[in-house]
Structures are given as structure tokens and as C-alpha cells.
């Protein structure tokens, strides 16, 4: 016979069953749509980043440091800018400070950026009213985030106080290239001219300041070359260097990785769809047994029949993928609305051909691979079935081709995931996770149907027994429905649990111990007394202020801290300047790494706080008065940092505290709960050694009403302009806002999985519909009322729904716990009430879909049973 026969057969054979085949189409649609949407969006993002990279940096090169640039660095910069035409530079100094508007008496912690004229060299900062950016250089004015005006109740034209400085609010900044919108939630940005920085008096000892220098090189093409030449030596000066290319690469990498992982959520939707394809095909073939047997009787070969049905599956997969891709392109247009605030670039959405093609290819592939296994059964249908249905039970011997198909299926899942994540290992881990969840769901479903059969609750009323018995009877849908529904529910509830637990950490516990919710920092020692007085006269508690002493490590156990791997011919080297490296050649092996090089902000006190726990060693029992200046200071180190530094009890660390060497010995190790709103430290000194060191203070207090907190901040801002305040409620809001937005995007994609799950559910129910219809109508003929038939359906779907919900919630609770323990390292608690609610929703969805598709059973008049012939 001609190959055309296969296609003809495939087409003609589909006529009567197109409605059911459409479910096959629907199964892959949701997954392909989600994949095309997220991958297309990621592609758009990459293009936008590439296009806007230069504007995002605003310069050819950026040098950044936590301390003012050294002379060595300054002279290097001058050399770099020499040329024709000469290059240009602009410094931006950033720090946190209190902004205060006298007219409205509004005070708010802000991120101040003092900018020199010229910045940015590329791209532009837009303002409202337009064109005010250039006026900044005129001095005495400021441009602020819109959010600040809202927070302070201020408007353009008001006077803004920053420390001792006064600025005219000249306009609102509407767009800054490279800025992530949500960061303004932590502190709205306030731009001031660099020339006015001194006047604010805010950059004092101990303030945390970022110094950035933006360079426009005479020849932009050599930026990358310069960066690689000087990167290591600059690291020695605690200066990092960044180019447009670095920026672009980092961002592209990060965003691509993010996109890839979000794509996994979409992939789950597609795999669920594959499950739907498999189950629909399986039941479809069952109902086609007679047809297949007749075809075989008439002389069609097993291969031809198999191919005909495979062609059907392929065609449906392709159709579903096309529909899905179209839908995906539409969804792609809406994604920016969800994530715009989280992205540093303005994304221009356009159809991404690669994502569309990949989505369609994956859709067709998944449909084919998942249909293959049940389709193979077609080859084994005996023509004898035409004579006697009972022979339908094909021999139980395992089909080697079926093993091959199963292997192909497993390999495909690993392959698809690896392609999506871009890593075989992560792909395999993902596939393993999906496999484990599917396995647990499958075993639970199997256990349920076997268990109900074994320990049948014969005490229940008949209708319930009838409904429950449907769970294990031939052609039951228990496994498919539990898998489809359970997986979608598992995803959504895991997301919910993670989000819930992360947020809970930041919330103020209503019944918990009263914790501070307002923090004042950058308090100079001479302000401590007056500030305490101010708090106490206001009726607020004023616990002892916490001193903070900035310091760096000079050596650990006599091993000096390197400034990174420095090449022999340091291009920065100037014989006039001494460097620590000079000793490193002869002395013990130097130590490096982030923990050794970072700036420590340590404190000293006589006791432990309630967020700390001593894990080894002994706490000191001393006061400043008992300290012997001849001995090394005793210190307690946080366990993680101790591990990074490689120190243990008894290790010695020499500190550089503003040029003074302070030797110390580790006498205890502590664990710290960083999630509390509290001042926590990596290193705590015993009282005494640091008493006279340059320091600043932090004060924590609790003010219950938001209005009173605002008022207190205003009063402090007026009296102590350099002191900043953090309002915990605002921090919480900011964190929740960001988390909500991030979770929204993931949840949005997870919804596709649920949609795919519902389609699969619908498919499973519809495919078993004929069976149910016959059964229901027969029951009515035999005297069952509609109510009785309805109750049987209700019992069945409630049982399935409860099982799917329970298993998926148990699974997601475990997954959530694992994530909390190993990824977020946060304590974990189950929100019981919400989980019960979730169970209700899942059961409701199952029942709804089940009853909607079962409605026909109730409507059909019983007479039809006499008319329908099998």
C-alpha cells in the first residue's frame, strides 16, 4: 500500500474524534505559550541590554570604591584621560542621609548622589519638567525621585534640607538608565551637585559612602584593554573597575540565567501537557480498539495503523504548538508590565523568532514522545477483537520497543530541561525533581485506588460507595487526574509557602516580644547624650547606643592580607609609595578573599544579645576597667566569617583601626540570626581596646504608631541633620514590594502549569466521558434519580481532589522546608489555615471541572440507552 494510505487513514480516522483530539491540542498549548512568552521575553531583554549597555554605565569606564581614591589612582586616571581630544571624568558620591522638607515637616531616609557636571556621558537622565538635569550644575538645587515627593508631601519648588545643606527641589527624575525601579523603595534618590556636598556635612567619619568615578576615554575602544591591565592593581587599592562590556556581560548572564530558570516553570507546564497527551492517547486508543481490529482484519499492517495514529498525534501536537506560540507572543507583550520595576533596562518587545521556533519544536517533540508509549499498544491489537472483545487484553509480556520509548521519554525530559537551563547538571537535577514529584503523586494515586479497593468503606451510603469505587474500577482516571492536578497545585503551593516564610521573617510579630522598629545611625559620639535626652523626653525608650568602629584586617595568624594577585610589574607601581605587597614575598603565605579584604564594622560590649548564640569558646566577663592594655583584645567571631577567614579559637587577628594596629585573639565563635531588625556584627570586641577608637553610634528604639515615628524622625532630622533613621515599617514595605513583584512573575508562569493541569483534567474526564455517560444513563434507567447520579459524581471527584490536594501540599511543604533550610536558611513554619484553604480550592476546581463535563450525564433522557448500540 502507498504511504498516502497512512495519511488518508489518519485524516478519516480523526473525523469522529476531533473533539477529543482537540484536547490533545489543548494539552500542549499552555506549555508552549508559557515557554514562548518567557524565552521570547528573555531574548528581547538581551537585545535591549546590548543596546542600552553604554547608557546604563553612562561612561566608558567606571571606578568604584568605598573610600576616597588614593593619589595613585588619581594620577592613573589623569594619565588615562590624556589624549586628543582629552578624556573627561565625573565623580558621583553616594550615601544615605535624611531628607527633610520644612514646609511639610516630612523626613525620609534617602540615597544621596552628589554628581559632578558631565555625568552621564552616554544616555540621558530625563526629568519632569524636562531638561532640568543640566541645571543641576548651577548649584543649590536638587532633583529627586517622584516617590520622595509623595512620601514627604512635598512638591517641586519646595526647599529640601540634607544635613546642613539646603536645596531647591528643581524637578523630578523620571528615568535613569541602568537603574532598577524597585531600589527606590529602600530610599528614594536625591541628586545634588557635587560642589554642594561639603555643605551638607553628611560625609563624616564612619559614614558609609560609595565613591564612583566615571570616565569618558579619548578612545573608547581601549576601555576593555585598560580594565584588564589595571584591574588587579586597582583591587589592591580597593578600587573596582567596570566597563560597558563587563556590565553588559554581567547583566546579560544574570538575566539569561533568570530567564532560563523561569523557563523551567514554563517547561513544567509543557511536561504536564505531555502527561495529558499520554493519558488522552491511552484512553483514545482503548476506544479505538474495535476500529483498529477491523482495520487489521481488512489487511492493514500493524505498522500502518500505528503510523496513522502517530501522524494524528504529531498533527495535533503541531497544531497545539502553533496555537500556543501565538498565545505566547501575546503573553510576551504583557510580561513587561509584571517585571518592569525589576529590570535595569527598558525592554522593547518584538517577536523573537528563535523562541517561537524553539517553542513549537519543543511542543511537537513533547506531544510525540508522550504519545509514543500509549500508541505502541496499537501494534499489538489483535484482529480477533472484532469477534470477541475479551481478547483485547494484550499479552502481558513487556514490549522491548516500549522500553525504548520509555527511555526516550526520560532522556527527552532531561534534554529539554538541560537546553532550557543551559546546563546538563541542572537539567538532570530538575528532571530528577520532576520525576520524584511525579513518582510520589503516582504512587499516592495508585495507593489510593488500591487501598480503597482493599479496605473498602462498606459502611458508607451506597452513593458514596459507588463514587469511591469509581476510583479503582476499569478505565478509572485516578492516576491521571491526581498527577495533572497535583503537579500544578504542588508548584503553586511551594511558591506560596516560600513567599510566606520569607515575608514572615520581616513582619512584626503581633504577639511576639516587643522589638525595636526605628533605628538611628551615623550618630557622632558627642551627639549620643543629647539624642538620648531627646528620646527620653519624648517618652521613648532609649537603650544604650551601640558603638560601631570601622576597621580592616592586617593579618591573620601572622599571614598578611594580600590585595589580590598582583603581577610583578604592577602598572600602578610607584616606588615612592609603600605597599603591603612588599613584605609578602618573604613572609608567610598571604591570605586573600572577600572576608579578609572587606571593611569590618565591629562593636564592643560586655554581653551577648538575644539574636546571638555562643557555639564555642567562652564569653568574656570583663569591663573596660578590667582590660589589660598589654594583652591582645579578646574577640568573638561569627561562625560563617570565621570559616571564610580560616580562623578558630585561639587564632590571632591584627586589625587596622584608622591607622592604629590592634592585635586580637579569637576567644569565642557565635551564630547570629541576621534576619532580625537588630544591630548584628561579624566581630565583637571585649570592652576596652576600642573605647578610644574613632567611632559612631547606632540607637534602636520602638515607637508604635506610624505618625509618632514620623514625628520623631522629623524632630531628630531637625536637631541632628547628619543622623539618619531607618523605619522598619518602610523597610518591610520595600522588601514585601520587591518580593511580591518577583513572585508575581513566577506565579504568573506557574498559572500556566495549573492551566495545563486543568486541561489535562478536562481531557481525562472527557475521554472517560462516554463510559460515564453510558453508566449514568443506565443508572437512571434502572431507577436512579438525577440527585443520586450527581452524588456519585461528587463523591468521586471530591475523593480525587482531596487526594491530589493532600499529596501536593505535603510535597510542597517538604520542598518549601528544604528550600528554607538549605537555600534561604530561614526558619520554617506552615500556615495551616491557608493550606486548608488551598486544599479547598483544589477540591473545588476538581469538582467543578468534573461536574461541568459530567452535566451531560444528568441531562440525557434515559430512553437513549435503548437506542445506542455498542
Amino acid at each position: 500500500m502507498k504511504p498516502g494510505f497512512v495519511f488518508q487513514l489518519a485524516w478519516r480516522e480523526s473525523r469522529k474524534a476531533r473533539r477529543r483530539l482537540l484536547l490533545l491540542v489543548g494539552s500542549v498549548t499552555a506549555g508552549v505559550a508559557a515557554l514562548v512568552a518567557i524565552n521570547g521575553f528573555t531574548e528581547n531583554l538581551q537585545v535591549s541590554v546590548a543596546e542600552q549597555a553604554q547608557a546604563m554605565l553612562g561612561a566608558d569606564l567606571e571606578l568604584g570604591s568605598r573610600q576616597p581614591f588614593s593619589e595613585r589612582v588619581e594620577s592613573l586616571v589623569d594619565t588615562l584621560l590624556t589624549g586628543t581630544p582629552p578624556g573627561r571624568k565625573a565623580a558621583v558620591t553616594s550615601f544615605a542621609g535624611m531628607a527633610y522638607v520644612g514646609r511639610t515637616e516630612g523626613a525620609r531616609l534617602v540615597q544621596v548622589r552628589a554628581v559632578e557636571p558631565g555625568y552621564p556621558f552616554y544616555g540621558s537622565i530625563t526629568t519632569e519638567p524636562a531638561g532640568r538635569w543640566g541645571n543641576l550644575a548651577l548649584g543649590g538645587r536638587t532633583l529627586v525621585d517622584g516617590a520622595l515627593l509623595a512620601a514627604l508631601g512635598a512638591r517641586v519648588g519646595d526647599t529640601l534640607s540634607l544635613g546642613e545643606g539646603r536645596f531647591l527641589i528643581d524637578g523630578v527624575v523620571t528615568n535613569v538608565p541602568g537603574d532598577v525601579g524597585v531600589t527606590s523603595a529602600f530610599g528614594p534618590r536625591v541628586y545634588i551637585p557635587a560642589a554642594d556636598l561639603e555643605a551638607t556635612g553628611l560625609v563624616r567619619f564612619g559614614s558609609r559612602v560609595d565613591y564612583d568615578l566615571y570616565l569618558k576615554l579619548p578612545d573608547a575602544a581601549v576601555a576593555q584593554e585598560i580594565a584588564s591591565k589595571y584591574r588587579l592593581s586597582l583591587r589592591g587599592e580597593r578600587v573596582r573597575i567596570e566597563t560597558v562590556e563587563d556590565d553588559r556581560e554581567d547583566l546579560t548572564d544574570a538575566l539569561t540565567r533568570l530567564g532560563n530558570y523561569l523557563g523551567l516553570v514554563a517547561l513544567i507546564a509543557l511536561l504536564l501537557g505531555g502527561l495529558g497527551v499520554a493519558s488522552a492517547t491511552h484512553l483514545f486508543i482503548r476506544q479505538k480498539l474495535d476500529t483498529i481490529a477491523v482495520l487489521r482484519c481488512l489487511g492493514a499492517t500493524a505498522r500502518q495503523v500505528f503510523l496513522a495514529y502517530l501522524v494524528q498525534a504529531l498533527a495535533m501536537g503541531a497544531l497545539g504548538s502553533l496555537v500556543g506560540a501565538t498565545l505566547g507572543v501575546l503573553v510576551q507583550q504583557t510580561l513587561p508590565l509584571l517585571v518592569a520595576d525589576l529590570l535595569p533596562v527598558d525592554v522593547e518587545i518584538s517577536i523573537a523568532p528563535r523562541a517561537v521556533l524553539l517553542g513549537i519544536a519543543l511542543g511537537v517533540w513533547v506531544a510525540t514522545v508522550f504519545a509514543l508509549l500509549p500508541l505502541l499498544a496499537v501494534r499489538r491489537v489483535s484482529p480477533l477483537v472484532t469477534l470477541r472483545r475479551a481478547t483485547e487484553t494484550t499479552s502481558s509480556r513487556r514490549d522491548p520497543v516500549a522500553w525504548g520509548a520509555a527511555l526516550l521519554l526520560a532522556a527527552s525530559v532531561v534534554g529539554l530541561a538541560s537546553v532550557q537551563v543551559g546546563s546538563l547538571r541542572d537539567g538532570a537535577v530538575f528532571a530528577g525533581g520532576v520525576g520524584a514529584v511525579v513518582l510520589v503523586l503516582w504512587l499516592s494515586a495508585l495507593g489510593l485506588s488500591k487501598g480503597i479497593r482493599r479496605w473498602f468503606p462498606s459502611g458508607l451510603p451506597y452513593l458514596w460507595r459507588q463514587g469511591l469505587a469509581n476510583l479503582y474500577r476499569p478505565a478509572n482516571q485516578t492516576v491521571t487526574v491526581v498527577l495533572a492536578l497535583g503537579f500544578g497545585a504542588f508548584l503553586l503551593s511551594t511558591l506560596f509557602l516560600v513567599q510566606h516564610n520569607l515575608l514572615r521573617e520581616f513582619r512584626l510579630g503581633g504577639t511576639e516580644v516587643v522589638r525595636p522598629n526605628l533605628m538611628f545611625f551615623d550618630i557622632q559620639p558627642d551627639q549620643a547624650g543629647p539624642l538620648s535626652d531627646l528620646l527620653e523626653t519624648g517618652g521613648f525608650e532609649s537603650p544604650p547606643m551601640v558603638p560601631i568602629v570601622p576597621m580592616r584586617i592586617l593579618s591573620v595568624d601572622d599571614r598578611p592580607v594580600t590585595r589580590g594577585r598582583v603581577p610583578d610589574d604592577d602598572p600602578l607601581d610607584d616606588p615612592a609609595v609603600d605597599s603591603v605587597e612588599a613584605d609578602s614575598a618573604s613572609g608567610p603565605r598571604p591570605i586573600g578573599g572577600w572576608a579578609a579584604r572587606r571593611e569590618y564594622r565591629s562593636t564592643y560590649r560586655s554581653g551577648l544579645t538575644d539574636t546571638e548564640r555562643l557555639v564555642s569558646g567562652e564569653w568574656w566577663d570583663s569591663t573596660a576597667a578590667t582590660w589589660d592594655p598589654g594583652t591582645p583584645a579578646r574577640i568573638s567571631v561569627e561562625t560563617d566569617v570565621a570559616r571564610e577567614l580560616g580562623v578558630e579559637l585561639g587564632s590571632s587577628i591584627v586589625w587596622d583601626v584608622q591607622g592604629v594596629q590592634i592585635p586580637s585573639r579569637v576567644t569565642s565563635l557565635r551564630e547570629v540570626n541576621w534576619n532580625r531588625f537588630q544591630t548584628n556584627f561579624f566581630v565583637v570586641f571585649e570592652p576596652g581596646p576600642l573605647d578610644r577608637a574613632p567611632q559612631m553610634l547606632v540607637s534602636l528604639t520602638r515607637v508604635d504608631s506610624a505618625a509618632a515615628r514620623g514625628a520623631l524622625q522629623r524632630r531628630v532630622a531637625e536637631r541632628f541633620p547628619n543622623v539618619s533613621a531607618i523605619d522598619l515599617a518602610q523597610v518591610q514595605q520595600a522588601i514585601e514590594g520587591i518580593l511580591d513583584k518577583a513572585v508575581l512573575a513566577v506565579r504568573f508562569l506557574a498559572l500556566f502549569s495549573l492551566a495545563a493541569g486543568v486541561i489535562v483534567l478536562l481531557g481525562a474526564i472527557t475521554t472517560a466521558r462516554l463510559e460515564r455517560l453510558r453508566e449514568g444513563v443506565l443508572l437512571k434507567t434502572l431507577g436512579a434519580t438525577r440527585r443520586q447520579v450527581l452524588w456519585i459524581l461528587v463523591a468521586e471527584y471530591v475523593a480525587i481532589g482531596v487526594l491530589a490536594a493532600t499529596v501536593s501540599i505535603v510535597l510542597s511543604s517538604t520542598a518549601g522546608w528544604a528550600l528554607a533550610k538549605w537555600v534561604f536558611e530561614a526558619p520554617y513554619r506552615l500556615p495551616a489555615l491557608s493550606l486548608v484553604g488551598l486544599t479547598g480550592v483544589i477540591v473545588g476546581v476538581t469538582l467543578f471541572v468534573g461536574l461541568v463535563s459530567g452535566a451531560e450525564v444528568l441531562k440525557r433522557p434515559p430512553l437513549e440507552v435503548l437506542r445506542t448500540e455498542t
Partner: protein, 227 residues
């Protein structure tokens, strides 16, 4: 005077087909006494199955009425008719119509369960009675046609119906098996006093009834007792 088990009065059924009114049954009137055994015969398309459906309350007539054991079906809702069936009516179909996902015993239990009566022992007993004692856990696909019809018969008699409607009960069976089924039906009819209404186009089967009602083109053309 005793009330008849079944009364059909001026029963008429018309359908709209292609814009034309099609009369399937035209003014059918007859009575069936309790414990009677009536065969309704006629060629294909004469309206036999439609009549059976109306008599059993599976459908509503265009005109006329059916009174089943004193209940005018026209006064009853669909669910009330279902309840009436569960109490008084049994069915046997040409294509058996067992519920394929239920075992033989479970199929027999259905009418009893719907009425909330103890079912298991009775079902076993009936299966024993129709000669399928050892097959109660088999699914319909595991049974031959004759066996399936015997299960259907057991189901039909499970709730001790006062009237049994049979639609070509032997139509899908060979002569020998068919005869066995009819024997069984008649035995049960005698034992339990059940009224039998049988639709068939098989003259031999009809000959076993005590009365034959012959339909042609939707009307009764003959109604006589057999010898």
C-alpha cells in the same frame, strides 16, 4: 375489579423530522393484567422500541397516557419516574447494557443499592439462580454474550420488580442461548408473578407469550391471546 398492571391509553408519539411531523405511534390503547406475559411484535420501524420506552416512562408521549400500577406517568417528574422504576420495573436489553466498569455482581446489586436494600447476598443468590455462581467477580468483557444477558436478567429481577420490560432480549444471541434466556425469564415470571412485556420480531419467541400485540406503522394491527 382489579387494577391492570399497565394501561396504555391513546398513546401517540410524533417527532419533527426534517420539518415534517412524523407519527411513530398512533393512538395505542391496551391493558396488561398482573402476572401477564405480553409480546409486542412487528417489523423494524413499526414503533416497538418507542412504545416500550413510553411504557417504562423513559420518555414522555406527545398524547395519551400510561398508567403503571395505578400511577399516571404524566403526573410524575423525571426523577419520580426514576423512583417508580427503581421500585417496580426491571429491564432487559438486546445489547445487555451491563455497566462495563462494574463486575457481574456489582451490576446485579445496582437496583437494590439504589433502593438502599441489602444487596450482596441477594445478588449472589440471583447469579447462582441464572447459573453464574462462580463468575460474580468477572467484568462484562470477560463474559460471553449469553452470560452477559443472564447477568442482565439477574439484575432485572434483583429488586423483585412487578413488571419486566425486555427489548429483543435474544436478538444478540444464538438460538440455543436465546432459548435458555427465555426459559429463565418465564421461570422467573412464574416464580415471582412478575408481569412480562417483551418486544421482539422473533415469531418463535413471541409464540411463548400468552398474548401477542402486533404493531405496524405505529398502530396496533392485531391483539390476541395465544393458545
Amino acid at each position: 375489579m382489579t387494577q391492570p398492571m399497565l394501561l396504555s391509553e391513546g398513546l401517540t408519539q410524533t417527532y419533527l423530522s426534517g420539518g415534517r411531523e412524523l407519527t411513530v405511534l398512533n393512538n395505542i390503547t391496551f391493558e396488561v393484567e398482573r402476572g401477564g406475559f405480553v409480546a409486542i411484535v412487528g417489523p423494524s420501524g413499526s414503533g416497538k422500541t418507542t412504545l416500550l420506552g413510553l411504557l417504562a416512562g423513559l420518555d414522555r408521549p406527545s398524547a395519551g397516557r400510561v398508567v403503571l400500577d395505578g400511577h399516571d406517568l404524566a403526573d410524575l417528574s423525571e426523577d419520580d419516574r426514576a423512583r417508580l422504576r427503581s421500585e417496580k420495573v426491571g429491564f432487559v436489553f438486546q445489547s445487555f447494557h451491563l455497566i462495563s466498569t462494574l463486575t457481574a455482581r456489582e451490576n446485579v446489586q445496582v437496583p437494590l443499592e439504589l433502593r438502599g436494600e441489602p444487596a450482596e447476598a441477594r445478588a449472589e443468590e440471583l447469579l447462582e439462580r441464572v447459573g453464574l455462581g462462580g463468575r460474580s467477580h468477572h467484568y462484562p468483557t470477560q463474559l460471553s454474550g449469553g452470560e452477559q444477558q443472564r447477568v442482565a436478567l439477574a439484575r432485572a429481577f434483583a429488586a423483585r420488580p412487578q413488571i419486566l420490560f425486555a427489548d429483543e432480549p435474544t436478538g444478540n444471541l444464538d438460538a440455543k442461548t436465546g432459548a435458555g434466556i427465555v426459559e429463565l425469564m418465564m421461570e422467573l415470571n412464574r416464580e415471582l408473578g412478575t408481569t412480562l412485556v417483551l418486544v421482539t420480531h422473533d415469531p418463535e419467541l413471541a409464540g411463548k407469550a400468552r398474548r401477542i400485540i402486533r404493531l405496524a406503522d405505529g398502530a396496533v394491527v392485531e391483539d390476541h391471546a395465544t393458545a
